[in-house]
């Protein structure tokens, strides 16, 4: 916020400190509808307060980015401690049938690229995108290579340029988005609507619009991912800010001769389609994560991956050495012989 207040300057640009999260989300809904690239940021209960507005963004198909810096919860919880416990909420913050795209960077460097990609995704599929950071990553200071901006493409929404009488929601998939005040006026409606945007409860429209909204997510399944030692039957797959600790644990286990694969992506929902297919072929995918329930492992299991979590919920990040020990212990419980056991 402070950075944007100082640097988001110039004609047509504005950074505003709103008085509430509801004001923030509805403000950026209006800006997104008006054709602007827009973002808000919050944490904990603030994210919950934005849930209804995010649902409206999904329903009316308005591009916007919501940053959720995760901390310990629920309620006021541990407001200054780190946790990765908003994944399920980020995927499904609103009531009703919806599934938000979620990008969760794992390093300070990835925070830059994740932010650009969150806007690109929002513009590409015309809807809300959740950028899921966490306290330890938000406060982490690190040296990173200066990003080469020429290699980071920026996407813009498909803008409608035709005449009036446009049926904004007629297509099965993505359709150009009109700019208010220009031809192509439509109703951006929170209620279920017909192809023009007018309210309707007719079953055929709810079916059409629901399938249209979910179908657009296929446009986001081409995210990059990391994969190493892909032939191993068991893989480790961190997400978000735990990436660094898990990577060091993975490297230590690799040095011991443990046959373990590595998978990682910041595009956590939807996952890159090719990566998901590879994960489905594994006997076990170990997911270290900072929450009680093992939320990413739950998501993976729902997608057909044999996943099991290693959890920590102290408000602190994983220590690499301790984590390496816990991964070995899990493999031993699963009857897997590790390099250390062979020795």
């Amino acid at each position: 916020m402070v950075y944007l207040e100082r640097n988001l300057v110039g004609e047509g640009k504005v950074a505003i400190q709103a008085s509430s999260e509801i004001e923030s989300i509805t403000g950026i809904l209006g800006a997104g509808f008006a054709g602007k690239k827009t973002m808000t940021a919050t944490s904990g209960p603030g994210f919950t307060l934005m849930a209804e507005g995010i649902g409206l963004g999904w329903m009316a198909e308005i591009p916007l980015v919501v940053v959720d810096v995760q901390r310990g919860g629920p309620a006021t919880g541990l407001p200054t401690k780190t946790e990765q416990s908003d994944l399920l909420t980020a995927i499904s913050p609103a009531h009703g049938d919806s599934r938000m795209p979620v990008i969760a960077p794992g390093t300070v460097e990835e925070c830059f690229y994740a932010s650009v990609m969150a806007f690109n995704w929002a513009e590409r599929y015309q809807g809300p995108v959740m950028l899921l950071s966490e306290h330890s990553l938000a406060e982490r200071a690190q040296n990173i290579p200066r990003p080469d901006l020429s290699k980071v493409p920026v996407e813009n929404r498909d803008v409608y340029t035709g005449n009036n009488g446009y049926l904004r929601y007629e297509a099965k998939g993505i359709s150009p988005m009109p700019v208010p005040g220009k031809p192509g006026a439509y109703v951006a409606n929170g209620s279920e609507h017909d192809v023009f945007g007018d309210t309707t409860h007719l079953p055929k429209y709810h079916v059409h619009m629901t399938e249209r909204r979910f179908g657009k997510l296929e446009l986001l399944e081409d995210g990059d991912y990391e994969a190493e030692n892909t032939k191993a039957k068991i893989a480790v797959m961190p997400w978000g800010g735990s990436k660094g600790s898990v990577f060091e644990a993975y490297e230590a286990l690799k040095a011991e001769g443990v046959d373990l694969g590595w998978y990682y992506t910041m595009f956590v929902s939807p996952l890159p389609a090719k990566m998901l297919e590879e994960l489905k072929c594994k006997d076990l995918v170990v997911v270290p994560e900072l929450n009680y329930q093992g939320q990413m492992a739950m998501v993976l299991r729902s997608l057909g991956v044999k996943a099991e979590a290693i959890t920590l919920y102290t408000g602190l990040p994983f220590g690499a050495k301790e984590l390496a020990g816990r991964i070995k212990q899990l493999l031993a419980e699963k009857g897997e012989r590790t390099g250390a056991a062979k020795a």
Partner: protein
Amino acid sequence: MAGGNEIVVRFAGEGGQGVVTAAEMLARAATGVGYHALTFATFPSQILGGPTWTQARVSRFPVHSPGDSVDILIAFNDYAYQEHRSDVRAGGVILLDPAVTPDPSDTNHRCITVPFDQLAKQTGEARAANMVVMGGLSRLIDMPIEFFKDFVAARFSGRAGVVEANHMALDLGLAHLADEEPIANLTAPDRPDYDQLFIKGNDAISIGAIHAGIETYI
């Protein structure tokens, strides 16, 4: 002496004692001369007071986590000493405020009392306790004091009095620990051959948003 590739330093005290900025200062100064560094900070939700600690891991190579084993702990109060000393590796160093009495049964660590505040006051800049610590650290990790002095000169550019006071604080900290054996001698870094930024995750998100063309932030 620890290996020459990396060092993990933890600062523990109370909110408002400058603990949060200390790790960042060490990391920023180190990266400025070519080391890799990563910080971790955890603090209470109170604006002032409450147990706070931060950690900086400085290495010749890229680092991915805050580090497991603490080489040096700076404990600004007794709670910090009691709470964190078990995380300090055997043979590690603990710098203590004079108000803290080290446990005589603790033979695993080298405990050194440093009058941070008293030395800072000698500079005329009471808030320079952090720089006293940095001066002491430069001795313990065998890092040239000039690295920190250059950092101070850049940080407080145009404020000659502040620079002078902080330089004096660095010298006082170094002099106070002049007879102590370094715990590590970080080998000189291989300065990366690419341009770098030293930033926090939140700022990186903001920079990405600006590159993406954000027009409205609310």
